[in-house]
């Protein structure tokens, strides 16, 4: 293969002089790698002009060694053999720069995560592998070139997808920091799951009472552009410059603003509700978990934001009675079409939330088979004063008040059968304690029985709440419910479990069973995350950039996570993460520009045949064909290119140069590995 020459190198680089620094990482590396043997070996490698070792290369004295020796020995490249580049590449790049070299003249050899940690009991093998890793790194470092990151401007706007409590908090924080924020919600109102809850643990605040002020704030904030009935349709671009297409689904109802835009003066929906009584179609209200009726034109509940009615096209018969009732306001348009809106934002926060796992799949508990087996969310609506029964907990079978209520915790959580979810859903223990409290408070003489495996009351004041509820009279049975049977006459339920602390199987007749069902990501989460290039873990929750040190970020620059979309979270945790995500998302916007890693592809134009094969292969739409000096050649939009190398690996003419991962650099690494480098 002909030697490729970098299009950026005009003059011949001077002979390489590489410095190699071996880190002990305390005993992390030195415990299973013979550092002095590796050091001796490194001295024998071609182009190596300096070798050193230190306890902790990442410490200030360790970095100082790099800076000093670059100057003293006139080095052209630096190799540090230590941990994963994910941890300390930025540290050592800075040290390389401080020493007077271009920071991209640095190469890291991972001899910890990929070596000493996995070969802890094979000192000899680990030492040999460390030698290989250093030889390979030196080969690449000898061919590294100066690179210069590009800066791109950042659009002074952000987007939050999902307007539950996390999304609302993130949007408010961004807006209050002076950033124009688009808040996208698929439902007709903001508020999310929290607005369905009656009370919140452990303080027993009324959920709506603490949420609605926030909803009002969101609705009124000048910097927030609220888009309900909306879904993300398409995403293009990169950090600083995301072009997002939003599908605004036809709600059939015009807001006063939209009415004005159509020339209807003083018109638009005022939320008066005159359209409701005339509507002939009745359907279950999803906000009430299907336990209360709504019309084909409806709002979820009286406190919705924005206060605009919505038409359910699946049930509307287009009779036109609502249009008549609306009269001069002319707010209803039965022919309304979906609208695609394009917005440009610098950063994006995903806050797509959770939903209940379909617990009827665990057949032994009889949900949807036995009328008096309900889910925890149905319980929330039944116990809520603004719910379908005005806050009177009743049995679905006969409307009577249940006096003995069993709670099945871990219903579908901590389940490895493939039907349920292997993870802990995290907040069911606490809300079940709260449910027990509500029963005791509202129904004199009623007894809640909590079937549990462990009570996980990990948060602030949570264990104290557990103490309080036990003291109030809730019964705790340490055993997972095996199965439930219904008495077909009374519709009472027999709960079977083992009281494992007693070592006896038990049969408990109750009036009602509440399943604390496992939670899972919402149905649109997977589609949305793919649009933004965000990964998810095996169980579907969105993947954070680092579980401990970067819990709000993702591996896609400029996209952040808030709330339960990243994993089951209670309200305090969801809000805290939302504030973290908002802070992280505002940083690039406030800086005004972001530096992109200079790992983009470049076209070696004299070799390019203009075949265009690469253009279609590029997953980021970064390549195009252009006319130059009468020839067709490929052109890279550097800011869009992520340096994945798909085009470079494919190009039949070898006309694509991948910065920092160029063909000669990679071939040198392979040669060093296969041939060895001892001299």
């Amino acid at each position: 293969m002909a030697e490729a020459v970098s299009p950026t190198t005009s003059e011949k680089s001077k002979a390489p002089r590489i410095g190699v620094y071996i880190c002990h990482c305390g005993t992390n590396i030195a415990g299973s790698v013979d550092i002095s043997a590796v050091e001796e070996y490194a001295r024998t490698l071609p182009n190596v002009a300096h070798v050193d070792n230190y306890q902790y290369m990442c410490s200030t004295p360790g970095q100082g060694k790099i800076e000093e020796s670059i100057k003293e020995k006139g080095l052209t490249g630096v190799v540090v053999a230590a941990c994963s580049p994910r941890l300390h590449e930025p540290t050592f790049r800075t040290a390389t720069k401080e020493g007077g070299l271009n920071p991209f003249r640095f190469e890291m050899a991972n001899i910890r995560e990929q070596n000493s940690w996995v070969h802890m009991h094979d000192r000899e093998g680990a030492t040999e592998k460390a030698k290989d890793a250093i030889r390979i790194a030196v080969a690449k470092a000898s061919l590294l070139e100066d690179l210069y990151p590009k800066s791109v401007p950042v659009e002074h706007a952000a987007m939050v997808v999902g307007a539950g409590v996390a999304g609302m908090q993130a949007a408010l924080d961004l807006a209050n920091a002076g950033i124009k924020t688009y808040l996208i919600e698929k439902a007709p109102t903001i508020g999310g799951r929290m607005s369905q809850l009656d009370k919140t643990f452990p303080t027993l605040d009324c959920s709506q009472c603490i949420l609605t002020p926030k909803m009002v704030d969101v609705g009124r904030n000048e910097n927030i552009e609220l888009m309900v009935n909306s879904e993300v349709e398409e995403v293009e671009g990169y950090i600083g410059n995301f072009d997002v297409t939003i599908r605004r689904k036809a709600s059939g109802v015009l807001s006063p603003k939209e009415a004005e835009a159509r020339g209807i003066v003083g018109g638009g929906c005022t939320g008066c509700g005159d359209c409701v009584p005339v509507c002939p179609v009745t359907k279950p209200n999803p906000f009430e978990m299907g336990m209360a009726p709504r019309k084909a034109i409806y709002i979820y509940h009286p406190q919705v934001v924005p206060l605009l009615y919505t038409i359910d096209w699946d049930s509307c018969v287009k009779c036109g009675l609502c249009v008549e009732a609306c009269g001069e306001k002319k707010a209803i348009d039965l022919e309304m079409q979906d609208e695609l809106v394009k917005v440009k934002v610098g950063t994006v926060i995903l806050a797509t939330g959770y939903e209940l796992f379909p617990i009827e799949n665990k057949e032994e508990w009889g949900y949807k088979r036995y009328e008096n087996v309900i889910t925890s969310l149905e319980f929330e609506r039944l116990i809520c004063a603004s719910g379908p029964t005005g806050g009177h907990l009743v049995r679905p079978s006969d409307g009577t008040t249940p006096m003995r209520i069993a709670f099945v915790l871990c219903a579908g959580s901590r389940d490895n059968t493939g039907i349920g979810k292997p993870y802990c859903s995290r907040f069911c223990c606490m809300y079940s304690l709260k449910h027990a409290h509500q029963i005791i408070e509202k129904i004199p003489g009623a007894v809640p029985y909590l079937f549990y495996m462990d009570i996980r009351s990990f948060g602030k004041a949570y264990e104290e709440f557990y103490y309080r509820i036990q003291d109030e009279g809730a019964k705790f049975i340490r055993g997972r419910v095996s199965n439930i049977q219904e008495d077909p006459k009374t519709k009472n339920l027999y709960v079977y479990a083992e009281d494992t602390l007693l070592g006896r199987p038990m049969e408990l007749e109750v009036d009602m069973v509440v399943l604390a069902a496992a939670v899972q990501p919402t149905d649109l989460t997977n589609k949305t995350r793919k649009l933004f290039g965000v990964s998810c873990s095996q169980d579907g929750w969105l993947l954070e950039a680092h579980p401990k040190l970067n819990p709000c970020g993702t591996t896609t620059a400029g996209v952040y996570l808030a709330g339960a979309c990243q994993g089951p979270k209670d309200i305090p945790d969801a809000v805290a993460q939302a504030e973290g995500a908002a802070s992280a998302a505002s940083i690039p916007i406030h800086k005004g520009e972001v530096e992109l890693e200079p790992y983009y592809a470049m076209c070696i134009e004299e070799k390019c045949a203009g075949c265009g094969m690469c253009v279609n292969l590029c997953p980021y739409s970064a390549l195009s064909l252009v006319e130059k000096d009468g020839r067709t050649v490929m052109q890279v939009t550097e800011a869009k290119c992520k340096g994945c190398g798909t085009c470079g690996g494919f190009c039949p003419g070898g006309a694509i140069w991948m910065n920092h991962f160029a063909t000669p650099q990679i071939l040198a690494q392979i040669d060093a590995f296969l041939i060895g480098g001892e001299q």
Binding site: N416, G418, S482, N483, Y496, T500, P505
Partner: protein
């Protein structure tokens, strides 16, 4: 371990040392149970779903969860000498419902296997072996059954070794391969003379 040696053996038993100590755990027992049962027996988290739905538990002292715990801890003698080991009906309800996707029924079967290697087995199980050896059936047909079958319009004997006794030989060959019949005869003789 502290021994008091009371003169009264009943008192001695009542006041014996009941601490669980680590040396009672045999990791090789856990491993053997896992291998024979083919289920991850060491992964039980003791939720009690198995016992909660066990048809045997409400009518006996059989607690499958306790056997799972003994399997996790490697308490071989406690598991193998407990007569409750033989009260499982192998209905597999626990296996259907175990949230850890384990097969507690197969753990019981593995423990029975290991117990039999030490000649720990109730005589009625051995008599079943003998019945299978002679007739091909654990519960051979009888006249009451034959009458009932006839009433239902069925043949007096089912189309098994009862109808085709020439195939009993094959069953005997299998049992002999594992020395099951010989062992059963020997143990029954030891116990019943």
């Amino acid at each position: 371990m502290v021994t008091k040696n009371y003169p009264d053996p009943k008192l001695n038993e009542k006041l014996r040392d009941r601490y669980y100590r680590r040396d009672q755990s045999k990791p090789e027992f856990t491993k053997a149970v896992r291998e024979i049962s083919g289920t991850m027996a060491h992964m039980c988290y003791q939720c009690g779903t198995c016992t909660g739905g066990c048809p045997s538990a409400p009518r006996s002292t059989y607690r499958i969860r306790e056997f799972m715990r003994r399997g996790v801890l490697g308490l071989d003698q406690e598991a193998l000498t407990d007569p409750d080991l033989w009260l499982c009906t192998t209905c597999y309800s626990c296996t259907d419902r175990c949230p850890r996707d384990l097969a507690p029924t197969d753990v019981i079967m593995a423990m029975r296997n290991l117990a039999f290697r030490q000649d720990i087995i109730p005589v009625n199980f051995l008599k079943t072996v003998q019945a299978i050896y002679s007739s091909g059936h654990g519960v051979p047909n009888n006249d009451v059954n034959r009458a009932a079958r006839e009433k239902l319009g069925l043949t007096r004997d089912p189309p098994t070794t009862h109808m085709y006794p020439e195939y009993i030989k094959g069953i005997q060959k299998i049992l002999d391969h594992y020395n099951l019949k010989a062992n059963a005869d020997r143990i029954v003789k030891e116990r019943e003379g």
